[in-house]
């Protein structure tokens, strides 16, 4: 249970809640139900949640499958820095967003689902904190584990995202974008036209060692820089 990244499930749940909020909002607005303006809010909130949650964060362990076309949204989500990276903020944001939709029956399902997603994000934070409570022994300067680019924690903003406090440093419980790896273009035929400029590769260490050991054991003729496979006798005595 300790290795479950609840944030991944929270992400799926939040995405589904966004879609449900949009659907409920459309039904309420189109059907012109009483208090339909909550439906209009629900559509906007649903779209926002969907866009925020669409880019899947990177898993801590193992490879992560990207959602189709998520790199465009990843760029946007990254812009907001700690506001979108930190899971606490996401949890609170989802909880707050879900409240107004709870006043209309058509969107109350979206409220419940988004609140559950918020709860699962909090579960993620809880599980990682309980793991790290063991590490919270030493009274370190909170920013001592910081990377050289952010030398000091000036305010709460940096404390949350920029400068990584000790309780986030170990597990990194935040949303990390999936960066595309730079493709190394294979230089096909690059060396074909020119003759090799380096000498041929030397055989691996084991192959090199054995003949020289045998040579030493048999008290071979020459102990020079070259190991001769065939014993060579020096004419000069």
């Amino acid at each position: 249970m300790g290795q479950i990244e609840w944030a991944m499930w929270a992400n799926e749940q939040a995405l589904a809640s966004g879609l449900i909020l949009i659907t409920g909002g459309i039904v309420a607005t189109a059907g012109h139900f009483t208090q339909w303006y909550f439906g209009a809010y629900s559509i906007v909130a649903g779209v926002f949640v969907c866009l925020l949650e669409y880019p899947r964060g990177k898993r801590k362990k193992g490879s992560t499958m990207e959602r189709c076309g998520q790199k465009y949204m990843t760029a946007v989500v990254k812009l907001f820095g700690p506001l979108t990276r930190n899971y606490y903020i996401r949890a609170v944001l989802h909880l707050l967003l879900s409240v107004p939709a709870g006043f209309l029956l058509a969107t109350i399902l979206g409220t419940a689902c988004l609140a559950i997603a918020s709860g699962i994000y909090l579960l993620e934070m809880n599980s990682t904190h309980s793991q790290e409570s063991v590490f919270l022994g030493s009274p370190l300067n909170p920013c001592s584990s910081v990377s050289p680019q952010t030398p000091a924690c000036r305010n709460a903003w940096e404390l949350l995202g920029g400068c990584r406090p000790r309780w986030a440093a170990v597990r990194g419980e935040q949303w990390t974008p999936i960066e595309p790896k730079p493709r190394e273009r294979p230089h096909v035929g690059g060396t074909i036209k020119q003759p090799p400029s380096n000498p041929p590769p030397r055989p691996p260490a084991e192959a090199r060692k054995k003949p020289s050991e045998e040579a030493e054991a048999a008290e071979g003729p020459s102990a020079g820089p070259q190991d001769n496979p065939i014993p060579v006798t020096d004419e000069i005595v």
Binding site: M1, E5, M8, W9, I20, M65, L105, P204
Partner: protein, 564 residues
């Protein structure tokens, strides 16, 4: 193309029947509620959304009945066994049970959406007509009080104009159970996405047990009788055709039309789901009973790269090639059952599995067996499941391709073929096997290495060296390995694997392989079996088409998409 039709015609037919039934039930219920006189007055308030909601409700009942059946794996094994006279293609459809389960789940989600949206409109209509004071038919019908002497022949569930729809939703049985069911369904679906299932199986497994709440809530969903239709008696006395127009005069003494009386539609969901629920309970009891039977671990082998081999015995256990079992280790987790392909042949007197580290549970299991001084943990086994891959034995020439972990079922197949060959089993038509093993690095499969080595030795002893022709492809190589291999070129055995067959680097060039096989066996039927990724399946299928001769008497390649 012909191959595809033969393999898939039964699934296509089955899905067509299922979709057809869904459409039929929807349309039938829709027309019933849209046309029947019994619901005339209800329709006056609600409109067509009543019929929409009831039609989707019927489809939901139908699909909720179906959804439990594909996951009763013991029941499916029983069907597979009793229908042994049926063709293998038919029985193989039972292997697609989980695909069907997912399709039915998607249909349930779709109909849930339709049902909820229709009921939202219904509740809004009810609310408006309750609050209306214009004396219209709708408002009079809504005014039918809930305190009639006959126990309430009301129509509108919203009892007073002050009552909000939210209040009715959360205080009526139908509304509350509806909310519970929908939330359970949503949680089940979000935790069952492929990504979550493959990465965090426990989240999926435990959350999916919310289906218990879904089924219970579904059973009592209709108890409140919130869908109202006119009673028989009332229809006889004051039929809507005659009396609907004169609704202002219902209360007059001399009018021959009286106020209509309504009764609730009885709950019928439980009738649909009772049988599957009983079957599923029996399935779980059977799984528990089978798991309690004693499993004797006869041998534990710890292979390099942390691969654990368990050889076991269980009374009454009989397996076939390509099948899998579920195992449970109570000391690690009481409720988790994990599937593993059997790696032993049916001819052996034990059954074995090879377990690699792939997550929490497997890691804990291997660690538990590594402790040499504590008692061996108890193992429970359920199975075997899956259609046997008997087709392999029917081809004169068999091309077996295993990629990565996909090599595991071939352990069983190769061993079995070897046993059959030794005993000159007449059922074995195979004269030659080409085995291709593709993996990134052989570390995790060095146990398979040992199997190939022993097969090599046995074949040499029997003097049948050319029965099994295998090639190993390492796709994760670097210049160090290649340099080393080049240096030891003239050694008899391969330096990486110790096998007589030299390792090749990179991916196989299928065109070369297929053309070689086609020229060596110009008149044979060649069966190609793959256990590996989809992309490889595509390229192999293409090669099969390309190298199959147009003349049916000459070489023919058949690609078998085995479901391992």
């Amino acid at each position: 193309m012909g191959n595809w039709v033969v393999n898939h015609c039964f699934s296509v037919l089955f899905l067509a029947v299922w979709l057809g039934l869904n459409v039929f039930l929807f349309v039938d219920a829709f027309l019933k509620y849209e046309k029947a006189d019994k619901y005339y007055y209800t329709r006056k308030i609600l409109g067509s959304t009543l019929a929409c909601a009831r039609a989707s409700a019927l489809c939901l009942n139908f699909n909720s009945m179906l959804i439990l059946l594909p996951v009763c794996r013991n029941l499916l094994s029983f069907l597979r066994g009793t229908c042994s006279f049926c063709s293998r293609t038919l029985r193989k459809q039972l292997d697609h049970n989980l695909t069907f389960h997912k399709l039915v789940a998607y249909m349930i989600c779709l109909h849930t959406a339709i049902h909820i949206i229709a009921h939202l409109f219904n509740f809004d209509c009810y609310s408006r007509s309750r609050q209306a004071t214009d004396g219209s038919l709708a408002s009079i019908l809504s005014g039918l009080s809930h305190d009639e002497k006959k126990g309430g022949s009301w129509l509108n569930p919203i009892q007073s104009p002050n009552m909000t729809v939210e209040y009715v939703t959360f205080t009526s049985i139908a509304g509350l159970t509806g909310v519970i069911m929908t939330i359970a369904l949503i949680l089940m679906v979000t935790s069952a996405t492929e990504f979550i299932r493959r990465s965090y199986f426990e989240v999926f497994w435990y959350t999916h047990h919310l289906f218990i709440f879904y089924i219970l809530a579904l059973g009592i969903h209709g108890i409140g009788g919130i869908v109202r239709g006119q009673t028989e008696k009332s229809m006889n006395e004051s039929h809507p055709c005659k009396c609907a127009e004169s609704f202002e005069m219902w209360d007059d003494h001399d009018s021959h039309c009286r106020r209509p009386e309504f009764e609730g539609h009885p709950a019928e969901s439980w009738k649909w789901i009772l049988a599957p629920v009983i079957l599923y309970i029996c399935e779980r009891i059977l799984r528990f009973y089978r798991s309690q039977q004693k499993v004797v671990i006869t041998k534990v082998v710890m292979h390099p790269s942390k691969v654990l081999e368990l050889q076991m015995n269980k009374r009454g256990f009989s397996m076939e090639v390509g099948q899998y079992i579920f195992i449970n280790c109570p000391s690690i987790s009481l409720l988790e059952w994990h599937p593993f392909t059997l790696t032993s042949a049916p001819e052996e007197d034990f059954f074995s599995i090879h377990i690699r580290v792939a997550g929490d549970w497997t890691e804990n299991l291997i660690r538990a067996f590594e402790q040499q001084y504590s008692t061996i943990p108890r193992i429970e086994v359920d199975g075997p499941f899956g259609t046997a891959s008997e087709d392999v034995f029917q081809y004169e020439v068999a091309v077996l391709v295993g990629a990565g972990i996909g090599v595991t079922p071939f352990a069983s197949i190769l061993k079995s073929i070897w046993y059959k060959f030794q005993c000159a089993d007449h059922n074995l038509k195979t004269k030659k096997i080409y085995f291709y093993w593709i993996c990134r690095e052989t570390g995790a499969f060095s146990w398979f290495n040992d199997l190939l080595t022993s097969l090599e030795q046995e074949m040499e002893e029997l003097g049948k060296v050319d029965f099994l022709n295998y090639r190993l492809f390492l796709t994760g190589w670097d210049s160090n390995i290649v340099g080393h291999a080049a240096l030891n070129f003239d050694k008899a055995t391969d330096i990486l694997t110790g096998l007589k067959q030299k390792t090749s680097f990179g991916r196989p060039m299928w065109d070369n392989e297929f053309s070689k096989i086609a020229t060596s066996h110009p008149k044979s039927v060649v069966g190609v079996f793959l256990c590996g990724p989809q992309t490889l399946a595509k390229s192999l299928r293409k090669c099969c088409h390309r190298y199959s001769s147009l003349d049916p008497r000459k070489v023919q390649f058949y690609f078998n998409k085995e479901n391992f």
